[in-house]
Amino acid sequence: MLNEKHAHINLEEEIEKINACVHCGYCLPACPTYLSTGNEGNSPRGRLYLIKDLIRDGKEELEDTAKNYLDNCLGCMACETACPSGVEYTDLLEFARHDREQSKYHKGFWGFIRRQAFKYILPNRLLLNMARISLRVMNFIYKLLPFLPRLVKIQPKLEFEYKKIETDSFYPSLENLDGIDNPEHTVILNLGCVMDTIYNQVHLDTIKVLNAIGYHVYVPSSKCCGALASHSGEHALGEKQKQDFLKKQKTTIDGIPVNKVVFNSAGCGAFIKESEDLDPELELYDIAELLDINNWKAPLPLANFKKKIEVADSRLMSFFGEIDASDEMSVDITYHPACHLSHAQGIRGVYEEILKLMQRVNLKTLYEAEVCCGSAGFYNLIKPDLADDIGKRKAENIQNTEAKFVVTANPGCMSQIEAHLPDDYEVVHPMTLLAAVLT
């Protein structure tokens, strides 16, 4: 059971962690893979029961069926929210996944390709863009020749437009400060990898929103934060990417250091916040935390913010393309909370509250809202069938709300949900919506 790879793991600790699971099954309906398959092996309780063999009963190695069940986990952490006993499921799963020489995703040719992808493509704008374009071309070919076997079951509506954002720069620029000169009110915004390539507009919108609520924004030349590599089991590479990322989180204004770092991708924020060896000076925020009307932090007074949101009727309606003068017009919106926001960071309700402030928005309750959409990093590339089933279920729930607009705050969720909804639906990042309303 324990070989040299596990040398750093304290087995006593792991036993204690697995003992916390009382097998009550409360996690079952929270788990997307269980909801889609109905199979105990695809539930957190089932997986823990298998891991228990490894930890408590001294089993050498798990069977292939068991490994497959562990691999099927999306890592959405909904089970940790549901668990009454506080079982550290993610840690235990990580422990079990260490024993992975057998995994086909990590060895041989495909393993090599994967590692190279994490290493070279993610941190490289140009290569990422090429990957995006080839996905787009592939989707086009599939449309023409629908009988071809599919390698990837995602077809996000990828935009070609790409507006380059200068890095190592301030927004607004230092010469043009327009009253924002307090370093306290400056935040660092990272562009990351996937978000910047596929949803680059969201970054522009985030800067607008941050400016509108009184923050001065600095964009460093950081690259991928390492979350994707790390969550796929490439821990060493992920760690290195993270260290490089953290080195970039430094700037000063008039010699005073800027410590506030803001994320608009829930996945990146959750990953960096989890790090153990962070600079204690650093303050990490998801953008949602700066917009929480119940715990307002931004320089712009809350009353002003609320007023702006409430009165932005015409701008809102033109954003949704519902340009109608009549006052009765309202638009149905539903909100999908990203797992890395709700389950990993415990940030809930922020965007719902803001949407409720908008007078002409009907916020429709999404059934199974906090259930993962099936994106989960690269999950939809590794487990296309299951990811597809989970995505379809999410899409069905969205369609049942009768809202044509879905708001969600993570690039992975955005592309997965877009791919499973019909063409007349629109998925928007809350920043895009807010930018339209505030500016």
């Binding site: 003992n19 398959t37 105990e40 029961y49 549901a82 059934y367």
Partner: protein
């Protein structure tokens, strides 16, 4: 974690080559089920060996995940055909929902195939005019409640496992919950059912007919009530027509802490004697209070030996009036702490002492074993005293949680078999005495968890052989061949099916 050495039982089932049977049946099943609906890998079978108990792990021979009622019918017909053409072989089936049961009711017995209802998750029709809902039985209790909540309705039975347990399981075990004191247990909320009986045919009972129409005034023999609580021994319930109850306008939650467990118990009797009808009366005692206080930092002083939670609901004026009277009653018993609230968030915090109990136990000891006793309300003080004596005698750590309103006591033994080697044995001995204590107080074996395999050997303490034979006769009406969830509820010695098997074994040799 429930961890007791599993008892070895002689069920008298004839030894036959399991593989042979299953291969034959597998071939049949493969004809109408997809590959991912048939689980026969040893890893899968292991995963289905327990439910929320780890008491009596028993691997099924096969697990099936049908998606439609027709598939369930086909499965059962295939089993029946096989049994008929290969006497005395007897393959049986067990329905399983979310596997949250605490008495082993959804576990396999010898030659059992588990039929999972995990894919039966449709809420078919909500009738807001008549306040009824038709559901497939794999629907999760809390999910159903979420669906109807916007219309100010709820399905009243709320067992602690509400967030995961399925309607099918609620029906099988006749589930209760903290609010069932006022609203009644599951049997009072099931109006009709669709059941696949043990010959594979569809049966409709109560207000539901075969076109899934319902007539809410049917006046035939109330068979639905018989099926509810039969623990899956009559067949597999696939659809249920349920009554929805309007949510109350307002509520008041009272929490009071006492130095003396007896005072708390007496207070419960007093409240009921005075004719109050609270939605819930729950108490948590001694070790349980300490555990929960430690886990959630609730700020009870060290002197606190018992905490009571009382919740009343209804229209505002009524709630306020009753609240004042209740306050007086509670204060008569000199509580150390008293708090009442109408604020939803504070209410959740007050309820933490009860709802967070199970999780908090995990922080004191890695395992716990839970009982489900019912005694007449007036006997609660005696029962608590008796339990304490038994715990002392066997040197066990006892923590009690009570649905005090209906006399349902959940004593828990918290233990760690890795540190204390004889503890499991001592718990077994204590169990025996606890059951005897319960019967001597005119109590019964199970309030809401069911008998299952866990308590079947104690049935004889409560019922005579004649009584149990009568119950078995009733069961035979629905399942004459004993293939629907066999070897449950009744003690093995009385069980006709086993006796029959033994007879057959004798015949064979």
């Amino acid at each position: 974690m429930f961890y007791l050495a599993s008892k070895s039982k002689s069920t008298g089932i004839i030894k036959i080559e399991a593989l042979e049977i299953m291969e034959f049946l597998l071939h049949e099943f493969a004809g109408f089920l997809k590959k991912d609906q048939i689980l026969d890998d040893p890893v899968d079978l292991k995963l289905y060996e327990t439910d929320a108990t780890s008491l009596f792990p028993k691997k099924p021979k096969l697990v099936l995940l049908p998606g439609t009622v027709e598939e369930i019918q086909k499965i059962i017909k295939a089993i029946t055909r096989y049994n008929a053409s290969n006497p005395p072989h007897k393959v049986s089936f067990v329905a399983r929902g979310a596997g949250t049961g605490l008495s082993g009711g959804a576990l396999a017995s010898d030659y059992s195939i588990i039929i999972s209802l995990a894919r039966f998750t449709k809420v078919i029709k909500v009738d807001y005019e008549n306040n009824v809902v038709l559901v497939e039985t794999g629907v999760v209790n809390a999910t159903l409640n979420k669906v109807v909540k916007d219309s100010n309705l709820h399905f009243a039975p709320d067992p602690s496992s509400q967030q995961a347990c399925t309607i099918g399981g609620n029906v099988a075990e006749n589930a209760g919950g903290v609010h069932c004191f006022k609203y009644g247990v599951t049997s009072e909320h099931v109006l009709g059912i669709e059941m696949v009986s043990s010959d594979g045919e569809l049966k409709y009972f109560g207000d539901l007919d075969s076109d899934l129409n319902y007539n809410l005034s049917s006046s035939d023999l109330n068979i639905t009530a018989l099926v509810v609580g039969s623990e899956g021994t009559f067949g597999i319930v696939t659809k249920a027509l349920l009554r929805l109850t309007p949510l109350q306008d307002s509520f008041l939650t009272i929490q009071a802490a006492f130095e003396d467990t007896q005072a708390c118990a007496n207070l419960v009797s007093d409240i009921i004697k005075q004719g109050f009808k609270p939605a819930a009366i729950e108490t948590v005692d001694n070790n349980a209070v300490r555990a929960i206080n430690k886990a959630y930092n609730l700020g009870f002083s060290d002197d606190v030996k018992a905490v009571i939670l009382i919740e009343i609901d209804g229209i505002l004026e009524e709630v306020i009036e009753d609240g004042l009277k209740l306050k007086d009653t509670v204060n008569k018993y000199n509580p150390l702490q008293y708090e009442e609230t109408q604020d939803p968030e504070r209410r959740l915090r007050l309820w933490k002492v009860r709802k967070g109990a199970a999780a908090a136990f995990g922080k004191i000891a890695p395992f716990w074993y839970l009982y489900d006793l019912v005694v007449p309300r007036s006997k609660i003080p005696d029962a608590l005293k008796g339990l304490e004596e038994i715990a002392d005698k066997y040197n066990l750590l006892l923590a009690n949680i009570l649905h005090a309103g209906d006399g349902n006591i959940h004593p828990n033994f918290l233990y760690d078999p890795y540190k204390d080697e004889t503890v499991v044995e001592r718990i077994h001995k204590a169990s025996h005495e606890i059951m005897e204590l319960c019967v001597s107080l005119n109590g019964t074996l199970s309030g809401e968890h069911g008998i299952g395999v866990e308590k079947q050997e104690y049935m004889g303490h409560l019922f005579s052989d004649t009584d149990m034979n009568k119950m078995l006769m009733l069961r035979e009406v629905f399942d004459p061949n004993y293939i629907s969830n066999p070897n449950k509820i009744f003690p093995i010695r009385i069980c006709r099916e086993c006796h029959r098997e033994i007879e057959m074994e004798e015949l064979k040799s």
